[in-house]
């Protein structure tokens, strides 16, 4: 076997794939061959590095050189310079917008410094389509250990002692869940992996499945052995074609090696996995709805109890865990509960993967130890706010979560702390907002999503959220009174208390948390009929600032409704009656002569 001195890891995740990653990979391989380097340089397509915004990414090992926004045509130069002459191609290095310098390797990037990768350990590290790479990286060892050296009780105890809590949103202790399922006796039990991932902007689970599908399979076998189930189902949304493709390859390879199937590793234990496809409804991520959907019924939640662990898929005891939860399991088994529980806070152990997005310099997928502060995540890993603007809020927990502010920046992130400040961990969406974001509009955005995704089975959620959305709309148009704000709060509380499932029970959170933290902003909309961030269209006007206007006509030429008049070199004027507030004039004016008022 060739002994490679250099590995070129090319991102093959969805984010980079979309931007010509595949062609880049092929070009690199070809260049390596053309230069007779195929015994020295190995080119591998891996999963996501988390830095998708700047993709396609190429990382060169052993020096950890990190190339960003690489185009297929750059392959020639990378091989000629880096592989042949040992010189990094400087123009492709990451340019740090804060430090204003090029960063030579991933170890020096602020984005990676505070990250700790457990669930994502193999993403960007191994070829997810090659089981041998997974085996080389300790793959299936945890499964072997559990099946041959541990009793189911011991396996459950290890997971329990690790303190791992579910990463799908609820944060329920995983070991306890397994124990409950193990104690319910039945002729058949099921293990289900929840890969529905419906939060807007979330792609944690997709990245794990694309970058390291075997880890989920391995964990499911362990889960099956622990609770006495021989069948595993993965419920994945059909819009994840690459993840599905890689999962299928992984399942086939694991079967060929006998790592799925009968008498796994001679242990006498049988287990196999099937894929089930979801149509992409947010509510189908809720475990009872998910189970009904797999049974071929409507994907609607039902009241708990009975919990799936008692009566789940086809009425049998069923253990549902999230993708990221599973990705932690093999490491917990190999490195031990003690190691895992040494990471994190008292009641939230280990790490959490977040999809960092919004007005932040480093957008991407990160994994950080629990207990890290929002400040560290936003300003160190995230590199701070884009364009040097002012931080305003960070939304965690997606449509079920809330907006946190400046005063929460030093809160250590964990399940309980986020709940106590009116947000939640959720599945790991984290959206950063700056001074240009309007909190009423943000709340409205999430309510729009909830109204769209409500299954309609219970009225507080179906009707209540619609009313909430209407109210927010009225506020954003400047037609509400302070009394309406009271109603908004009351209705929110009723929806929370009376909805059937988690969707409705948490949907008012974006409203409540923005009201709690940005009350002044609501008052400005209501009392002054003003949107302080200049977002709500009905409350703003575009005006020409007379002192600055030089009469260049750029605005008038670009206004889609021709509502700007004025002669060359004369002051221009906007006809407010016709203006549709499209922002085009403001973007085109080079003289800062258009303002939002």
């Amino acid at each position: 076997m060739a002994k490679y001195k250099m590995h070129m890891l090319v991102c093959g995740g969805t984010g980079c794939h979309a931007s010509e990653g595949q062609m880049l990979f092929e070009n690199l391989k070809k260049e390596v061959q053309d230069n007779n380097l195929e015994n020295d340089v190995q080119v591998i397509a891996t999963g996501c590095f988390g830095f998708c915004e700047k993709g396609p990414i190429v990382k060169v090992i052993p020096d950890n050189t990190f190339y960003v926004s690489v185009e297929p045509k750059d392959a020639k130069e990378i091989v000629a310079e880096h592989a042949l002459k040992g010189r990094a191609v400087k123009r492709l290095l990451y340019f740090d917008p804060v430090r204003k310098e090029q960063i030579p390797d991933s170890k020096h990037m602020g984005f990676y410094k505070k990250q700790l990768r457990i669930a994502l350990r193999n993403c960007g590290m191994i070829d997810p389509e090659n089981i041998n790479e997974y085996l080389a990286a300790d793959g299936y060892e945890a499964m072997g250990k559990v099946l041959l050296e541990m009793t189911p009780e011991e396996a459950i105890k290890e997971v329990m002692d690790s303190g791992l809590r579910g990463r799908g949103g609820g944060g329920f202790p995983t070991g306890l869940k397994w124990q409950i399922a193990s104690k319910n006796h039945a002729d058949q039990k099921y293990v289900v992996c929840n890969a529905d991932e419906g939060d807007p902007g979330a792609f944690m689970d997709r990245s794990i499945l694309e970058g390291d599908p075997h880890t989920v399979l391995e964990a499911m076998v362990i889960n099956g052995y622990a609770i006495g189930a021989t069948k595993g189902l993965i419920y994945i949304r059909a819009e994840y074609p690459l993840a599905i493709h890689r999962l299928k390859i992984a399942i086939d390879q694991a079967r060929e090696y006998g790592l799925l199937g009968t008498d796994i590793l001679g242990s006498g234990f049988d287990f196999d996995v099937e894929i089930r496809y979801g149509a992409g409804a947010f509510v189908c991520g809720e475990e009872t709805a998910l189970i009904h959907s797999m049974e071929g019924e409507r994907g609607e939640p039902t009241f708990k109890p009975p919990f799936p662990a008692q009566s789940g898929y086809l009425g049998k005891p069923t253990n549902v865990n999230n993708v990221e939860t599973y990705a932690n399991i093999p490491v917990i088994i190999t490195k031990g509960a003690k190691w895992f529980s040494s990471i994190g806070t008292e009641k939230s152990k280990g790490t959490k993967v977040f999809a960092l997005a919004g007005k932040i310099n480093n957008v991407g997928l990160i994994e950080v130890p629990m207990g890290i502060t929002l400040r560290e995540v936003i300003f160190e890993i995230g590199g701070g706010i884009q364009g040097g603007k002012k931080f305003k809020a960070v939304q965690t927990g997606g449509p079920s979560g809330g907006c946190l502010t400046e005063k929460h920046l030093d809160t250590p992130i964990d399940f309980d702390n986020l709940l106590s400040v009116g947000s939640m961990m959720g599945s790991g969406g984290m959206i950063v907002m700056d001074e240009d974001d309007c909190m009423v509009a943000v709340a409205k955005f999430y309510l729009e999503f909830t109204v769209e995704e409500s299954c309609g089975k219970c009225s507080p959620c179906r009707i209540g959220n619609k009313r909430l959305h209407e109210q927010l709309d009225i506020i954003s148009k400047g037609n509400a009174t302070e009394k309406d704000l009271d109603n908004l709060r009351n209705l929110s509380n009723v929806i929370k208390d009376t909805s059937l499932c988690g969707l409705g029970q948490t949907s008012p959170n974006p409203v409540l948390s923005t009201m709690d933290n940005f009350w002044d902003e609501y008052l400005a909309h209501v009392n002054e009929k003003r949107c302080p961030s200049g977002v709500c269209k009905d409350l703003i006007r575009y005006e020409v600032i007379a002192e600055n206007c030089v009469g260049c006509t750029a605005c008038a030429r670009n206004c889609p409704v021709n509502c700007i008049s004025g002669e060359r070199k004369q002051l221009h004027v906007i006809d407010q009656a016709l203006c549709i507030k499209c922002n085009a004039c403001l973007e085109k004016c080079k003289f800062n002569a258009i303002a939002v008022i």
Partner: protein
């Protein structure tokens, strides 16, 4: 593909495959390892830097030394090539010039194993990309 029938089989297979990803895993955690960079400018290659690099990789592995060997561009000492830069854990890098197989062997045995300095050290005044 043949089936993996036991835990022993699995472990055996892993040990055979491990070298595939070992370099990547090591590079993830360079701290605490010996870092070696071989100067591979055009003159470096001509003066046998590639052979020295291969020698170092093979010998370090044989002698069970936890090191990461990489290549780097021209270090700016074309008069002394091949050049080899060694960074022991928590120490400043040291550059050796005119490294042949014998000297590479000395670097491993004397400097890396025992911290003994050898002759042929070049004062570190060069600029590498890390320093910029």
């Amino acid at each position: 593909m043949t089936k993996i029938k036991s835990l022993a089989d699995l472990k055996k297979m892993k040990s055979e495959l491990q070298s595939q990803v070992a370099l990547r895993e090591k590079s993830e955690t360079p701290e605490g390892r010996v870092l070696i960079r071989v100067g591979m400018g055009t003159s470096g290659i001509a003066s046998g830097a590639k052979q020295i690099m291969e020698f170092l990789i093979d010998e370090l592995e044989k002698r069970n030394i936890d090191a990461i060997v990489s290549q780097t561009g021209d270090m700016g000492y074309s008069y002394a090539e091949p050049t080899v830069e060694v960074t022991l854990p928590k120490q400043e890098p040291i550059v050796f010039g005119d490294v042949d197989q014998k000297k590479a062997d000395d670097i491993i045995e004397k400097y890396i194993k025992n911290g003994e300095l050898l002759d042929g050290i070049i004062p570190a005044n060069y600029e590498t990309i890390d320093k910029k």
